[in-house]
Symmetry: C2
DNA sequence: ACATCATATTACTATATGATAATATATTCA
DNA sequence: TGAATATATTATCATATAGTAATATGATGT
């Protein structure tokens, strides 16, 4: 291995990499991405999220807890119903970059690429 | 649910969301992030990656296969040794965004934030 | 051809977690 | 207070996968 590389290969602490990995892990489940997409157009309560995504109630509740704990969505109870909204819009910037990349890779499957453009409609 | 929201809630096909989730899943393991970091300074062979990361040989080999199949790294055999390099530099742009976000969230733990800045050194 | 070295694959175990049903909690209203 | 509704939690099962040891493949040099 070249010396220049060894100097550049300053180790990042496993703690920090763990945080980054944790962040990506939250985004690595279809159900959670569905929930985030459902919230993209604005605040929704749990029932609306269940309806929009078609996921089970307990499942949605559990995923919302994960998203909430990681600071991706914000929880706001109003009486008996609980409203959630996106707390971290940078999520969509990240998805946009990924989609650009995937669009390049998947240049064959044209209808899928069309669908990817949804992430390019930015939050207000 | 408001009508405006329902119109905006155009469903993305599970196939597409699956692709995005798959991409994030690959980035959601500390070991794979370690490998990507090791390759950030330039091309390396498997032995170098093992040495830099401290991971086991079989483990590195398996992770490299995953990274390779998703198009994140590029495989280049030279005789008996195999060199890998980052094929998708947008990975680091994504990590940069995540780190910015984490730095904001983790404003307390100052030494960890310092370490996060490594992702801000762009590829040439 | 054989020994050696680099990488890949296989088999296996342990762990994590997604989905779901059942139950609990908490608010609202009659 | 009690019924109805919204959300959260718990227990359970099934599946996926990270790590590792052992083995296989494949190239190089003698």
């Amino acid at each position: 291995m070249e010396i220049v590389q060894m100097i550049n290969d300053a180790q990042i602490s496993p703690t920090v990499l763990g945080r980054i990995a944790e962040y990506f892990k939250v985004l690595s489940e279809v159900s959670r991405l569905q929930i985030l997409c459902a919230l993209k157009s604005g605040e929704k309560n749990v029932t609306d999220i269940i309806e929009t995504t078609g996921l089970g109630q307990a499942n949605v509740s559990k995923h919302l807890k994960v998203l909430s704990q990681l600071g991706m969505v914000h929880r706001e109870p109003h009486g008996v119903t609980v409203y959630y909204h996106i707390a971290d819009p940078s999520i969509f910037k990240i998805c946009e970059i990924v989609c650009d990349r995937l669009a390049t890779n998947l240049a064959d499957q044209s209808q899928d690429i069309e669908a990817l453009s949804i992430f390019r409609q930015h939050q207000p």
